[in-house]
């Protein structure tokens, strides 16, 4: 990930940082603010920048968001349990673009 791409993410989440596991690139997004309807829900989040667990990309959350997303599953990544809904076909691109595609699941 280029420094400019990380800077973009830090405008949204100041603690954003790149992490890797098994050759897979992720962005760690601590205390990430997720727009849900008219409210903001805060979760730790982990964005996979490539295909992961059978999906083109994944946005893992520290907890489910009630009433949003479908078919939630639990996965262990970087030694931590994460929750993610079934949300597929997020196109690869700039990390912030991928993140915004994932956030459409929670509107």
């Amino acid at each position: 990930m280029r420094p400019a791409e990380l800077s973009e993410l830090r405008e949204l989440c100041p603690g954003a940082d790149q992490v890797t596991e098994g050759g897979q690139n992720f962005v760690d997004l601590p205390a990430f603010r997720i727009p849900v309807g008219q409210e903001i829900v805060i979760r730790d989040a982990l964005l996979s920048l490539g295909a992961h667990t059978g999906y083109t990309s994944r946005l893992y959350l520290s907890e489910q968001i009630a009433g949003r997303g479908a078919n939630w599953t639990v996965h262990t990544v970087l030694g931590r349990s994460w929750h993610t809904p079934s949300w597929n076909n997020v196109m690869p691109g700039r990390p912030i673009e991928m993140l915004l595609q994932h956030l459409r699941a929670y509107r």
């Binding site: 949204l12 079934s86 076909n89 196109m91 700039r94 915004l100 595609q101 459409r104 699941a105």
Partner: protein
């Protein structure tokens, strides 16, 4: 006090002193009459006339204050209009997909703004607000003041 043909001569509202009288006696008759008339004009108006004059003056002051307040309000309105006009004519910088773009400040239809900043019509445009991104409807209006941050992205992703 000196009486002359039943007229009491006064100077500044007070009876003449002996010195005044001596000076007056030295003047020719016409001049003495002029001094007397002048003194009567200075203090000879009635209380009623003075009261009316004060009342007229108070009305004039009230009217003047009212006009001044109206003028001040008009000035403030004109300043606001000028500020808005300047804002509309001001070129500002926004950031779109990480790139700085210069546009005129003002209110745009989102679809027109996308054309202006080179975002394809089929992409969704989000604006960064209060630490999170808000998607913009193409038919909504957006007001640009400067320093706004936008990100566009494809409308993909779906529950499988």
């Amino acid at each position: 006090m000196l009486k002359e043909d039943g007229i009491i001569l006064l100077r500044d509202g007070h009876p003449l002193t002996e010195e005044d009288q001596m000076a007056l006696d030295d003047l020719p008759l016409d001049t003495a009459t002029a001094v007397e008339l002048d003194d009567r004009n200075n203090c000879g108006c009635s209380l009623e006339e003075a009261t009316q004059a004060v009342e007229r003056a108070e009305v004039e002051v009230t009217e003047a204050v009212s006009k001044l307040e109206t003028a001040e309000r008009n000035l403030e309105r004109a300043k606001d209009d000028l500020k808005k006009a300047e804002a509309r004519c001001r070129e500002v910088e926004v950031k779109v997909d990480g790139h700085p773009k210069r546009v005129m400040a003002g209110t745009y239809l989102v679809s027109a703004f996308k054309v202006l900043v080179g975002v394809a019509a089929d992409r969704e445009l989000d604006i960064l607000e209060h630490g999170t991104f808000r998607p913009l409807d193409d038919n909504a209006e957006i007001t640009i003041c400067g320093h706004e941050v936008f990100v566009s992205h494809v409308r993909t992703g779906g529950s499988s």
